[in-house]
Amino acid sequence: MAGLLVVVGVLVLATGFGFWRWHTDGTVRDATGAVASPDVVSESAEMLTENQLGEPLGSQATFVQFSSAFCQPCRATRLVLADVTSAMPGVSHIEIDAESNLDLVRQFDVRRTPTMLLLDGDGAVRKRATGLMRKSDVVAALAQVV
């Protein structure tokens, strides 16, 4: 009997968590104020440079995707971002391996993958999202930055 209660409890909690994640995955939020960095005193957005990312930024915007191994949504998100950015020459897509960039992971408090940071033309981090992104999420985020 106790075992049955545990099963029901686990399934109920897991269902709640699953729906919450399904709802929040891919949701684009403003980056300012969402970054856990005690050193930041000013309200300005954090910046990312070509040196940190290893690739040139887009002239209008840059999608920075943190990926890791064993991450199937990372591959799916990569395909979506590549699809959107391929049609827009001023927007680039940079995918970085979270494991080998732990300094950036800590700076931007990246806890799971895929995490997406959207930079504007100057390299300022404007938006972020975690989880699988759909094309509509990506296009909407871009419209707010470009």
Binding site: V6, L11, L13, R75, E99, K135
Partner: protein
Amino acid sequence: MNDKNGQAESGVATAATPTVSTAPAPGMIDPRGPRFAAAITVVVLALILVLLPSIWAVVLLVWQAVAFGAAAFFGLQAQPYSRIYRSVVRPRLGPPTEWEAEAPPRFAQQVGLGFITVAMIGLAFGLPIVATVAVAFALAAAFLNAAFNFCLGCEMYLRYQRFTAKRSAAE
């Protein structure tokens, strides 16, 4: 990360070329297989929780350890539930519309094996509560995978990397 199949995934139906469904790229599998296996796993783990700490639960625990272990050590194609999928379920479905890499589901099987191992150790030391907690976590993970296509590796792998890097930096 394997990405040999460059099929774009968009939410919009297009007239683009359909995905090749016969021979996938190496390391790519039908994504419905692991979810089917996860559904079977949910049933088995739920049974274990209900039957603990009886001998039947132990039998099922050992069986589930074998199932997880087959995937963990020999690859997904060795997983008994995946074999059932391929022989019984898959022929009744159409070909998959997309493929996914084998590594993420295999990692999830390895994590499952870890939970089951903890459960068996708990029982061996006369602590059925340890077994219940460990199997409960495994059940949650399997259910999230089956019902929501939840990616356990996405959650665990980076947090684990951050944690272990922090430990080594402190020492």
